[in-house]
Symmetry: C2
DNA sequence: GGGCTTGTTTTGAATAACTCAAAATAACTG
DNA sequence: CAGTTATTTTGAGTTATTCAAAACAAGCCC
């Protein structure tokens, strides 16, 4: 009976193990990210505010930046959208974005099918990562636009 | 002896054929884009200003938006960068971005190697396009950071 | 070529999403 | 518990872009 969504202690540990001090706003931010994926700073802020009154938007930005730097969360920046943060980290998975409503979903990188991620002519660049973004219509938006 | 970089008449025709009125600032913007790829609005503005004095930044943004909508230019939005515009359009090619200096280069989509661009589980999304961004170090930045 | 209609540009202001900095505050260390 | 240093608050500033009203000008018609 001591487990809400994710034990606050577990969250605190993750933060500590990342080399960061454990604070109320940080625990709250990480908690929000455990429950919701691909969420923007503003929405994180609105979710955290009631949990830790007095939290500022700047703090949330700072926390998300610190988490990102520490590798606790991942930041993506799809076109036409503010930055989105997610807890799923370490695998470099990809994303589908709905051109209708902006909904974002994870797309697993099909291992074994990655040859196309080695560019034919990389112009002398030393490639580190490949980021794939698929654009299309989510089920809901497909239904909304019949034709 | 009537051809500078790209004949102004040719530029005007492209604009007209896209269904847009031909104006001085538009011809100038398109001319700049013919000469320089992956260029941001601000730099387009600074290149256009001496050619068409009195041009406003807002106009440049408007022109680039109109061109993009008309399919005359392509707009990309790599993370950590303002939007970039390029004339190369129609093929959906990809990009390498230097994590050191932000330099951008085209990467041809290796035709025949695109199976990975069909996501394994698209979560019901109806995929329209796949956008690939490679991140790495450009030759210059590789030289600058020996280790 | 001279109006007319409508699309464009200018001018002026506003916005979204962050970032910066100084002072106040609170975590961890010993 | 005190001290050191990281973090947050408070307040302001920035960048890239968008909105809107009024002035202007392209392309069409005669
Ligand atoms: Mn994801
Ligand atoms: Mn390109
Ligand atoms: Zn949708
Ligand atoms: Zn570079």
């Amino acid at each position: 009976m001591t487990t809400e969504r994710t034990d606050a202690t577990a969250l605190a540990d993750s933060i500590r193990h990342a080399g960061l001090r454990v604070t109320e706003p940080r625990v709250a931010v990480l908690g929000v990210l455990e429950n919701e994926s691909h969420i923007e700073a503003e929405r994180v802020f609105r979710a955290v505010l009631p949990l830790v009154p007095g939290t500022s938007v700047q703090a949330v930005h700072g926390i998300l930046a610190a988490f990102t730097q520490a590798g606790l969360v991942r930041r993506i920046e799809p076109a036409h959208s503010p930055a989105l943060y997610e807890r799923r980290v370490g695998d470099n998975h990809h994303h589908v974005v709905c051109t209708g409503c902006g909904a974002v979903e994870d797309v697993d990188c099909t291992v074994g099918h990655s040859p196309c991620l080695t560019p034919s002519s990389s112009g002398g660049f030393q490639i580190q990562t490949a980021e794939v973004t698929f654009w299309g219509l989510c089920p809901a938006c497909q239904a909304a636009v019949p034709a």
